[in-house]
Amino acid sequence: MVAVEKMVVTEQIEIAKNIFKLVLKGDLVVKVTAPGQFVNLKVTESLDPILPRPISIADLNKENHKMAIIYRIEGRGTELLSYKKIGDEVTIIGPLGNGFPIQDMKSGQKALIVGGGIGTPPLLELSKQLALRGVEVTHVLGFQTKEAVILQQELSEYGKTYVATEDGTEGTKGFVTDVIDQYELEFDRLYTCGPTPMLKALEAKFPEKEVYLSLEERMACGIGACYACVKETCKKDDELGYRKICSDGPVFRAGEVVL
């Protein structure tokens, strides 16, 4: 169930250029049901900016009621967020969305987790939970350049982690798909989050496989009431013809909605 809560900042660190990890404490954490869920975050109590920002939950610690989010400064909202100090309060609406399906993954099965840029954060909690289930996890992360690389070390804890950079300053030069080819990576299921071109490439590359994509769109309500964040379904005869990213997603099976 969705709650609104003033959560307290317990940590704020810049983990890469303009990319921050913010740890928040509050009761809302215990309501999170799946990796890949997100929250809607009010960066200020004032009306400037007015709308909350959707940010994925990157790391969860239900026991001590903490969760981490990892965000990049994109505009004014995330900039203001980066000024929050330990002890400050942040109003959070969440948890939102359905997250990645993991209950049906069995010990010994292989999951390939592919992250692109600032799409990587929700994959951290995903990987942790999969590993906990005994799933064999492999990560492929794509970034523009060395300075933008995040979570490589954290993810390595749960499984082998490859990195690709567009300019070749770290890992394989090229894209995540180049890494997958290069190392002939195999999997029972692929989970991914990142820029749309990357998601499209993966969807096209593995038409026969089980691929789960986490999507983004500009949102208002975040709960499914305003129809801001819809995507058309791929099947033209779908009963609804559309899905809401916020409440039906943000994670969809590849082939469900038009990217």
Binding site: D48, I50, A220, Y227, V230
Partner: protein
């Protein structure tokens, strides 16, 4: 006795607070958050004859103190709204105001006729003012004669009172109000959104895929108040005011301006619990300002 209960044509309400059309879907999402029974009424999402997918995305963006939307009246169509959404809503003891939209006058008649037969639909809100639909829509809302005609024809087929929702994008809102009153409207709701635009600095192109969108939120509150003030002194039918309401204080301001009830739109996105919070705070505010009953202050700002 409650100090917040309000009676308007077709509507017996526990309090004058209702979510605005398009900002609350058909209530399902918010029903997960709180008991909808506490609401004065619910204005459901615009309903058209056929299902509509709406506009391409991005459909929303933020502006200083407000937001733009160009949803494009996405809705599952009259049949599903009547067959699924309204029956589901009937579990709540809350009057429903059905927002009716269309491309032609016939569309309005069709939806109005059918949807007004549903038990829990206690009033219609004719959306003749949606700026985000390319055909029809906007003309109805800016030409007094056309507005009058739509109102008359819908009144002729509706089984419940008809409120007409006015567009603020007009030179003279009073003319529009008089026209729909003459057409037989039982009430007026205002304001719908102001047409606005925002441009992406990186691309130089409009952020909203539909190019322009409707501006709502606190930024438009002064315009909404002015129109409620003008219209309430011009017509004899009640007004449901809206535009930027975020707090119980804002509700008082709309009452002073001349509203008989209010709707809350954008604020539901900022805080999904805003409606229950306002209802809770309103009672306290009446004490603070020594107001006996909310209806006592309608139009207090009039000269």
């Amino acid at each position: 006795m409650s100090r917040l209960n309000v009676s308007l044509p077709g509507l017996e309400m526990k309090n004058p607070i209702m979510p605005a059309s398009g900002c609350f879907g058909f209530g399902r999402e918010f029903a997960n958050l709180y008991d909808l029974n506490i609401l004065g009424a619910i204005m459901i999402k615009a309903t058209t004859v056929e299902p509509r997918f709406g506009n391409p995305t991005p459909r929303v963006t933020e502006t200083p103190g407000g937001m733009l939307n160009a949803i494009g009246l996405q809705n599952p169509g009259m049949e599903k709204v009547i067959g699924e959404e309204l029956p589901w809503l009937s579990q709540f003891d809350v009057p429903i105001i059905a927002n009716v939209a269309g491309k032609t006058i016939e569309d309005y008649e069709t939806v109005a006729k059918e949807i007004s037969k549903v038990d829990n639909v206690k009033a219609l809100e004719l959306n003749i003012s949606c700026p985000n639909v390319k055909q029809g829509g906007i003309t109805f809302g800016t030409v007094p004669e056309v507005a009058k005609e739509v109102t008359e024809r819908v009144k002729a087929v509706s089984e419940v009172p008809v409120y007409v929702k006015l567009s603020p994008n007009v030179t003279d809102i009073k003319e529009m109000a008089k026209a729909v009153e003459a057409g037989g409207a039982d009430g007026i709701t205002l304001i719908n959104t102001l047409t606005g635009m925002r441009i992406d600095l990186n691309t130089g192109k409009p952020i909203i895929a539909n190019v322009t969108g409707g501006l709502s939120g606190p930024a438009v509150k002064p315009v909404a108040l002015r129109m409620v003030y003008e219209v309430s002194q011009t017509v004899d039918i009640p007004i449901i005011g809206m535009g930027g309401i975020q707090s119980a204080e804002d509700v008082l301001e709309f009452y002073y301006a001349g509203a008989s009830a209010v709707a809350v739109g954008t604020a539901n996105f900022v805080d999904p619990f805003v409606c229950p919070n306002i209802i809770r705070d309103l009672e306290k505010l009446l004490d603070q300002y020594q107001i006996n009953h909310i209806t006592d202050i309608i139009g207090r700002s009039w000269a």
